[in-house]
Amino acid sequence: MPKVTINGTEIEVEKGTTILRAAAQAGYEVPHFCYHPALSIPANCRMCLVEVEGSWKLQPSCYSQVSDGMVVNTKSERVIKAQKAVLEFILINHPVDCPICDQAGECKLQDYYMAYDAQESRLRTEKTAKVKVFPIGPEVLYDGERCILCTRCVRFCEEITGTNELTIIQRGDAAEIRPFPGRSLDNPYSVCTADICPVGALTSRDFRFKCRVWLLSSTDSVCTGCSNGCNIHLEHFRNEVQRYRPRFNPDVNDYWMCDAGRLTYKAIHTDRLTRPMSNGAELNWHGVSGTAADKLGRAIEDKGTFGFVVSPQASCEDLFLARRFAKEVLGTERIYVGGNPDGFEDDFLIKADKNPNTRGLQTIFGHEGELRDFGALIDDIESGAVTSLYMMETQIPVATEESARFVSALDKLDLFVLQAQHHGELSTKAHIALPACSHAETEGTFVNFDGIAQEFDRAFAPLGESLPHWQIFMRLARAMNHKLTYTFVHQIRKEMFEDSAATEEASQTPAE
């Protein structure tokens, strides 16, 4: 293994490591724009130049590999001069419209200017005017003046999605990124180009002017859009999710996530059920647990007609308590599976199963006999085999005409208890509707399609009077004189892992 000396620090790295990576291992940051660990290396921005002893010219550190005995200086006078020159060159035609730029605050050009340049502009002529707010795709906007032509977006479309929409047109100071004639940046991962853009040239249309990035707080979470479970930074401001940003996890999603998944945060703040309801009247939790306990107690007496719908939208901990609640409190064997119907699928990240925790649900209920199909529930209600129903979440995994059949069949029920995030057709039909909170407001674990158990953290307090699913189960159990007591999610998690060897096996591969 070659030994290199970087700024006086000797370090042994693997053969074929680039100087930039070796410097990072030695603890020195080398500034760079065009280099991205997941993409090929064009070495066109010239920001990462370093001095290598014995070579006459400065070397691009993102591209040059280390050799044994190499002596590198990343902070010499020549390097500092080159970094200043590169930044000055990039800033010649940069509009410096940071006040109206969405990237301000997470912009590499801004950061590097403060760290490596910090000099006044010497430009005395007018800047070149280029295209502003160009709709390069349905989800992404392009600003030609801010663009530094690092070609990260072009390489992303070539190498990651393989859709090849983008290219550079013109030359010199007129050069711009454009889609090929007749194309637009409309692949299902297009917003990733806005993520990897080091400046504000490509910006997300959804996040446009919504919130300044320095105001955002970030929580490690998992996307609930499909069973792939992409790791995300859930970014929120004042108890409101502002956007999802992919979080690096080589086992699951690498640096990327899909556009559809990014927009799933909107469901957290639309049509939320915020107060417990009983027959359309708003109650408090104390009142509703009494009413619910009373009604559930009477319904349990009709043995064998109690249906329970569990949702793969809920976390493992919630489902674990759902199982205990169904078995110990309600004593029912009829457990049906809800959740979203299957949808679009590709061979990269997007999975057909649009529920984040199908594997977790199967593991938790796996050794408890058969889980029943949702279609069977509709038949059972219509035939009268199920007269009382307890349902988690409002998603229904059947086609539109079938779901209409389900909704009309609900009128036959003697008791319908719904425990869900959202208002809607089902909550108006429910005799008792209990507000549950979303994955942003509680913590838990999702098991993705591959069996990787991934924890997500709580970002902010539950909206309105909603509660996590597991707390609702505990409340109702207490009102019905059953012992079901936990204080923290990690207690449930521990018991769940002890209980289910299969889940433990799945959690062997730790999430990042």
Partner: protein, 176 residues
């Protein structure tokens, strides 16, 4: 612990004259009564009082007095502010609420569709003016915050703040 220089001060014990209480009280009252009669003097200059009959006798504010906010205008009368949120970010009292939007005019990319300052919450520190990159907000109106009958009256919205504004000498968007 670090060394602390302690200076011991000798307290003089009260004399018998002071301990007897009554004469010192009379001396204090004499000072108060002296001030009282001095301020009854018909000639204003000879009075020593610092209170004023506001608003009949308004105070003359110093030149750099920070009064009510105002929003400056572009040459065509539109709001200069580009909704960069620098003022609302720096505001220690968290009293500025801005919602950004896209303007119909293609030369203006971003503008505040909502701009509300809660003047009751404002602590008049002037940091918003310092933070503004485009001379859009100023506190040089010279008017101090009036008393409000209701909470809502203290919410100054964009149009009200613009009605107090004027044209700025600075070039919009900086020099190109």
């Amino acid at each position: 612990m670090a060394n602390v220089n302690v200076k011991v001060i000798d307290r003089e014990p009260q004399s018998l004259w002071e301990k007897s209480y009554i004469p010192e009280i009379i001396r204090g009252l004499a000072v108060t009564t002296g001030h009282f009669f001095r301020n009854l003097n018909p000639s204003k200059e000879k009075r020593t009082t610092f209170t004023r009959n506001y608003p009949e006798e308004p105070t003359i504010y110093p030149e750099r007095y920070r009064g009510l906010h105002r929003l400056m205008l572009r040459d065509d009368g539109q709001v200069r502010c580009v909704a960069c949120m620098c003022c609302s970010t720096i505001c220690p009292a968290d009293c500025i609420h801005i919602e950004a939007a896209e303007h119909d005019d293609p030369t203006i990319e971003k503008y505040p569709s909502v701009f509300v300052i809660d003047e009751l919450r404002c602590i008049v520190c002037g940091l918003c003016v310092e933070a503004c990159p485009c001379d859009a907000i100023r506190m040089d109106s010279g008017v101090h915050i009036p008393p409000y009958g209701e909470r809502n009256e203290a919410f100054y919205d964009r149009d009200l703040l613009m009605s107090m504004g004027g044209r700025s000498q600075a070039v919009q968007g900086g020099k190109r």
